[in-house]
């Protein structure tokens, strides 16, 4: 019962209440921090490009500044877009991704400039080759990222399309499996849709769509998954019927392994689901069940590959290479052996930008880019790149901690984990820690699908971190202005009908 003395709707004019505490007061606008860090990142990419050209072609060509300047324009565009669309977002994401993406573009140009007769060449144009393609894809990805930022104004709105996106994700995963090999097979993995002049990897986009569904589903089911359990060996194990969805995703990822012949993608989907499940329920038993199921499935595939061959043979070969690459160093193990030799040649400080032999490793522009880069920038350089990945993942998890709704927490946690898992799977494969799987290195490898999908992933993290860091009275950019959709304004009207 409200009395006359009760506070009515709160004052809307600023200055009437306590001073709004800017949550990050004293640190200035996060967008300016972001801009400064992007400038530093581009400076590093520029230095690398110049040093690389000096090393590779003994001169700094007149074209050396073009990729860096183009990148600068687009990253600046995203920074400006952030000022309007996500003013409170974490300032770390954009510069960290900018550094890795810029290094990717620069290193692909380095591969273009690797040639036995390079010194006879007179044209060092930046408008051709892998580097230029990657530059175009980066531009397209950033344009798309801005569209995503503009369309998805509130990450919670994604949960409304959870079932649609989940279905779309499954369809995207299945398309390459049912297409004839002519249209979907590249280097032994059936992961592609080939349109003739270019091909896309639908699984990269399916990742994000499936994560939306996982997060939505687990928010609904977290109580029953975390509360109903049997205690066994000091761990809480779920009831048999609650295992259903886990088994379903496990079966799906094994089917990816068998029909698309790709362990990496299969590991990504399953790892993503188990991690989201663990974040939702805080039950370590899910991690153990997940690892057990995946390990068992992979071991079974290995045994079957030896016995019956067929769809399992590809995986068997990869596992054998992993166990002893030097036993067949000239044929099957050639790629991994060259990668290990390259990393070894680089040593601690690398051979120097532009002074390695990246083309010795087959597919250096895709899966093995971290080995090619590692040869030239050494352990110190490669570690720095990996630390930057770690920082992106860490800030993603930080956004998950900060955001106020369960869906956002699960979604951001899942996105951050997915990125980290992908880096682990491919860098682990290249350095012979785990069996090699055909994953791209996020933001570094040549390839449009992967670049674009990972930019969307980071854009969604930017969107969620904006929600997590926004003070409760709406965007700081427009104090007193109309609050964003779903914000407090709507609720003032609502309160009147509740008061009796």
């Amino acid at each position: 019962m409200l009395t006359a003395a009760a506070p009515g709707p709160p004052p809307s004019s600023p200055g009437n209440g306590p001073a709004v505490s800017a949550p990050y007061a004293g640190r200035g606008n996060p967008r300016n921090t972001e801009l400064g860090l992007v400038a530093l990142a581009l400076g590093i990419v520029g230095t690398y490009t110049a040093a690389m050209e000096a090393g590779a072609i003994d001169q700094i060509s007149v074209h050396f500044w073009i990729p860096v300047a183009t990148l600068a324009i687009f990253f600046l565009g995203l920074n400006v877009a952030n000022r309007f669309l996500a003013p409170d977002a974490d300032p770390i994401f954009l510069p960290a991704v900018a550094l890795i993406n810029g290094m990717g573009v620069a290193f692909l140009r380095r591969i273009d400039l690797y040639d036995d007769k390079i010194h006879d060449r007179t044209d060092y144009s930046a408008f051709s080759g892998l580097g230029f393609r990657q530059l175009l894809w980066t531009a397209l990805s950033i344009a798309f990222a801005i569209v995503v930022l503009a369309v998805v104004r509130d990450h919670k709105s994604l949960s409304r399309y959870a079932y649609t996106l989940g279905f779309a994700g499954i369809v995207l995963v299945m398309i390459p499996a049912v297409l004839p090999a002519r249209l979907s097979m590249v280097n032994g993995a059936k992961l592609w849709i080939n349109f003739g002049f270019f091909s896309i990897q639908p699984g990269e986009f399916a990742k994000i769509a499936l994560l939306v569904f996982f997060a939505y589903y687990l928010v609904r089911k977290r109580e029953v998954l975390s509360l109903a359990s049997k205690r066994f060996l000091g761990l809480d194990f779920p009831r048999g019927r609650d295992l259903g969805p886990v088994i379903a995703v496990w079966a799906m990822s094994l089917m990816v392994l068998v029909f698309e012949k790709d362990l990496g993608t299969s590991l990504m989907y399953f790892g993503m689901f188990v991690a989201t499940l663990y974040i939702a329920t805080e039950r370590a038993s899910w991690l153990i069940i997940g690892l057990g199921l995946f390990g068992g499935g992979v071991y079974l595939a290995y045994i079957l590959g030896g016995l019956v061959g067929g769809p399992f043979a590809n995986f068997r070969v990869r596992a054998d290479i992993w166990l002893d690459p030097f036993s067949d160093a000239d044929h099957k193990g050639y790629q991994l052996v060259q990668s290990l030799l390259g990393l070894g040649t680089g040593g601690l400080f690398g051979t120097g930008p532009g002074e390695g032999y990246p083309r010795k490793i087959p597919e250096v522009q895709n899966d093995f880019i971290s080995a090619g880069l590692g040869e030239e920038i050494g352990l110190f350089g490669l570690t720095a790149i990996l630390v930057v990945y770690l920082i992106i993942v860490f800030r993603g998890l930080r956004a998950a901690l900060g955001v106020h709704d369960s869906f956002g927490k699960l979604f951001a946690g899942g996105l951050a984990f997915t990125l980290g898992l992908q880096v682990f799977v491919i860098v682990g494969g290249v350095s012979q820690l785990i069996p090699l799987t055909g994953q791209t290195t996020p933001f570094l490898s040549a390839g449009g699908s992967s670049l674009m999908a990972n930019w969307i992933l980071v854009t969604l993290l930017i969107r969620i971190s904006d929600a997590a860091r926004r003070p409760a009275d709406g965007p700081t950019a427009k104090p007193g202005g109309p609050p964003s959709a779903g914000g407090p304004a709507k609720l003032q009207e609502m309160a009147t009908e509740v008061m009796r």
Partner: protein
């Protein structure tokens, strides 16, 4: 290119790369430090103020104003919301400021409104009620710093 230039470029690049990493870590450190500083000032519960005439601007001293709403118990424990002037709505509805997935919470459970520096807690006709410390909230009640607000299994506190 002279060899010395190449050597300088090679090591200079690595140094720059690590300068970037440490600059980013520095930004993160400042970010966390700012969060931790306000977290350390935990006000002790002061009991519930009797009437609503309190909390005029003159009485609100610096440092006593609530700047954060912290979830201290329940599924969202550890979440903090920085308070502005706009009301904070709490409930299971997706458009609430604080969305809680708690079986004992209603879709639109309660809200916190600010007036002249004092925050008032108001129950929005919830099924299971809103409690300020031990007392059930029936009319808008002023919320002192550090006193737990209980909604279902979730508890919240205002912090400076």
């Amino acid at each position: 290119m002279p060899a010395i230039v190449l050597t300088v470029a090679r090591f200079g690049f690595l140094v720059l790369l690590w300068i970037f990493v440490f600059t980013v870590v520095g930004v993160i450190r400042r970010d966390m430090f700012a969060g931790a500083r306000s977290g350390r000032l935990v006000a002790a519960p002061r009991g519930i103020m009797p009437s609503m005439g309190q909390g005029r601007p003159a009485k609100v001293k610096r440092g006593r104003v609530a700047h954060q709403l912290i979830v201290t118990g329940g599924a969202l424990a550890g979440t903090r919301i920085t308070l502005g002037e706009a009301p904070i709505t709490i409930g299971r509805a997706e458009d609430s400021t604080l969305v809680i997935t708690d079986d004992y919470a209603s879709a639109r459970h309660a809200r916190l409104v600010s007036r002249a520096g004092q925050w008032y807690l108001e129950d929005l006709g919830s099924t299971n009620g809103t409690y300020l410390d031990r007392a059930k909230v029936t009319a808008p009640t002023s919320v002192p710093l550090g006193v737990p607000i209980r909604i279902g299994r979730t508890s919240l506190e205002l912090r400076p």
